[in-house]
Symmetry: C2
Subunit: 576 residues, 2 copies
Amino acid sequence: MQTAALVQRFSRIYRDCPKLSKLLVVCSVGGVSLVTYSVATSSQQPEVLNKKKVVVLGTGWAATNFLKNLNDPSYDVRVVSPRNYFAFTPLLPSVTSGTVESRSITEPIRNIIRKKNVEMHYSEAECVKIDAKNKKVYCRSDMNKNSDGKEEFDMDYDYLVIAIGACVNTFNIPGVQEHTYFLKEVEDAQRLRKAVIESFEKASLPNLSDEERKKLLHFVIVGGGPTGVEFAAQLHDFVSSEAARLYPEVKNFVKITLVEATDHILNMFAKRITAFAEEKFKKDGIDVKTGSMVVKVSDKEITTKDAKTGEITSTPYGTVVWSTGIGIRLVIIDFMKDIGQGNRRVLATDEWLRVEGCDNVYAIGDTASISWRKVMDDIAAIFRKADKDNSGTLTVKEFQDVLADICERYPQVELYLKNKHMRGLVDLLKEEKGGDVKEPLEINIEEFKSALSKVDSQMKTLPPTAQVASQEGVYLANCFNRMAECEKNPEGPIRFRGEGRHRFHPFRYNHRGQFAPLGGEQTAAQLPGDWVSIGHVPQALWYSAYASMQVSWRTRTLVMSDWIRRFFFGRDSSQL
Amino acid sequence: MQTAALVQRFSRIYRDCPKLSKLLVVCSVGGVSLVTYSVATSSQQPEVLNKKKVVVLGTGWAATNFLKNLNDPSYDVRVVSPRNYFAFTPLLPSVTSGTVESRSITEPIRNIIRKKNVEMHYSEAECVKIDAKNKKVYCRSDMNKNSDGKEEFDMDYDYLVIAIGACVNTFNIPGVQEHTYFLKEVEDAQRLRKAVIESFEKASLPNLSDEERKKLLHFVIVGGGPTGVEFAAQLHDFVSSEAARLYPEVKNFVKITLVEATDHILNMFAKRITAFAEEKFKKDGIDVKTGSMVVKVSDKEITTKDAKTGEITSTPYGTVVWSTGIGIRLVIIDFMKDIGQGNRRVLATDEWLRVEGCDNVYAIGDTASISWRKVMDDIAAIFRKADKDNSGTLTVKEFQDVLADICERYPQVELYLKNKHMRGLVDLLKEEKGGDVKEPLEINIEEFKSALSKVDSQMKTLPPTAQVASQEGVYLANCFNRMAECEKNPEGPIRFRGEGRHRFHPFRYNHRGQFAPLGGEQTAAQLPGDWVSIGHVPQALWYSAYASMQVSWRTRTLVMSDWIRRFFFGRDSSQL
């Protein structure tokens, strides 16, 4: 045992600090064979036969946070993703304008998993089929060179974590896939950056008419969400600083149009922010076309339809950026059909992030949506469980006993009470009984139903944001870490439709606020408690929040040095 | 006049420091209209009708140094290049391994030319035809999107500077163009970096045999020049540090082979350096195959032929990097045919970098090669010119009078004397006359010929390096700057075949030494005077030389911060 421990320690030192151990090798003549042995074995960890095999699909926000937080060494984790790095996607609009470099916002997934005490292996491949019946996933490596037909392989799992994100939703509008630029992946941002510079170079060629220059420098952004708005702002900043300096002869031909189907841009934000953003864009000369739906994109023109008048307009463009929303990936559509979710619009999980209708399959991030249970569906079961003495009526005492469990299981109850400014469910019941309440308060099932009838209106689907995805990843990792422990001592709420308690607390999203950078070093921030702030202070907050949220010290340093670099040297306009 | 000067000053301040001038605008209410006027006119410089139009093709070392050093405002300069940036090519091998980022070694050409007092315009296009007869170049923009058939345009010139560099020479070996990676442009380095990471990812997939992993991780570098050697060294460094950490399960399958057709790698360096490099690579496990010529590259195998035995070997490979030498671009081949240089191997210029057989066309950098004049071709003319009294013999006095001019016009004379350890030509003449020299020394033409007969053996073509290209660019810019002045007061050597003096001193290359980084923070340096040094000291020298040679403070800062970043965080292995 002593020798084995020594070997292990040596092996760890060697992995962590190869230079030091090389020195050790030279110095300690007697230990040479020992160290050699440890080095030879260090890469092959002893196989524990009963390790549960966890297959994780994806390397985005959800998957990476799951992997970072998983620390129970009894799992054997296989990560499969076509992207061998994690990307800090909220900075993608900054990459398009060259404010931040693409490599500054990426961290190789191998760097993240190799530091773990859990056995983790990564394969660069795309999952093409999930076979939940046989607990298998089929993967394909999309590297076509020198493939020898060996691109496909399959993997067994005990637990499957699906975190492959979503794809761009083109709404099947003709020409979108072919002629527009997306802003979903790092490569998209690189392509878009190149396209912007190319537009300026092309417009500067000597043989063009002014009309052609105008067309080339017409940038259309479709989608007034945070990404589209931030890209428009970044583009405007680039145009008014670097481009104005480097392309003075064509800067006056630039036009930026932001097309939004609804009545306002940034409509998930407070009205004050929306109004400020629209006003600022107007001042900046960005043409905001709200209530305008894109119906077609050809290679030269983009066609929109006014939502009110129905009027169809075609405008020549140079570059169209498509940033409207997300759609489901093909592999998920097939999977949903297989597991009986074929008629749903998005893959559904329960509050524990388990895919409905599937054992041991979890889905986190943009891939899935939590399908919250309605109180009204379970109302009879809840009443029965609370009514311990089977009297047909609930006393306040009986009610208090299950109150916490109800609130935990159905978060909409808490939200409803909060909106009604009530301290607890008892207030709600009292209101139901009318002003004159005789103590002890008792209510029957009909009154109970009536009191809770409007609660479900507060149910919300979570937005497809990095924040939600990462919280889901952390939550699921913690569940996995305490799987064995919670199996014995369940810690979740009472099972209303069964015996005992749920193993875990359900997932609860904790909204930490949202930023909308508007260019010119101004940002709108909406923080929890609907605290709204706009201007330079939230911009500073944005800088510090985004720096602190970086996944590694490497990316943190790089992103910050990119900001400093931009301050001193501006954005780079090399067409790379 | 006063107002005009004020306007100009305002305009300059505005361009140099927009923020300050914005403040000024706000403060000085009275000056608003003045400033507005100046801003409006600042981008449209007054047209000087008699400005000579200089068209510069290229944005590489030669062109950029020409543009940076040109400062006579009487020229109107048009720059045409498909690459809108200057790239610090000696760092390309560093880009392939991620030691330095690609954007850190590029500087937008517009950034360089906008700071000039000379009117300069840039067009992103490729020159497809040079019509020297009509003083016109035809250009094509290769941006195909939204082109409307307007990709072609032409440009008139008074002076043409060709600096488009060379292309990769595949020697028409089958499969090279299709299956190998080049290391000529920044995009090549990016592609190669991606390919290296892809090889490691691919080899780490679960379903491969060891044989397949070995094949995928077999990197073959063809060409043992400084670029090939540096790439091999960088790749080895990457494999033994980052790859060993991130891909522990496949690191033992890696093999690096360096194929060189001649007997030694780095054969332009001193023997000591070659020997050290070969020894170091042997220790590092890099397989150096000298005397081995590539005859074919298929999609799976590379076939070589042993120069001595004639034996043919085929080896499976994952990645082949082609770094053997340079060839002529198509547009130059056509141009050479047009101007009667069709039977030459490379575009020839005279010592003033003027293309032979063409008026007002200059060629600098790798595009052309200086065709030095032979002393023996001009020997009769030289003798005639020196023999001022037409006596048929040369006295020492007569000889001394033209000595400097001969040495300047025929640099091989100086080199020859240096190699023979003679102080001057007089020593050479004395030697020719034998030991017993009677004063005053006089020699006839036959003796003169005989003395100089071996001088031409010292003629050297300049290597296609960044150093030569940039010195040619600087030289030519200085000629352009003093064109008018030197027209009146020629400063060059005596015209032996004509009257008066040449306008300019001929171009003279000043070799400042050469580095060959060998990996592991070791570099071989060969400095002027054949001072050779190998190890960590030249590596430090390499760092400081390459930092100081950067074209802007921006790239200097970025390159240095990349080095620091690599020191702390290693190289990034995201497949981007």
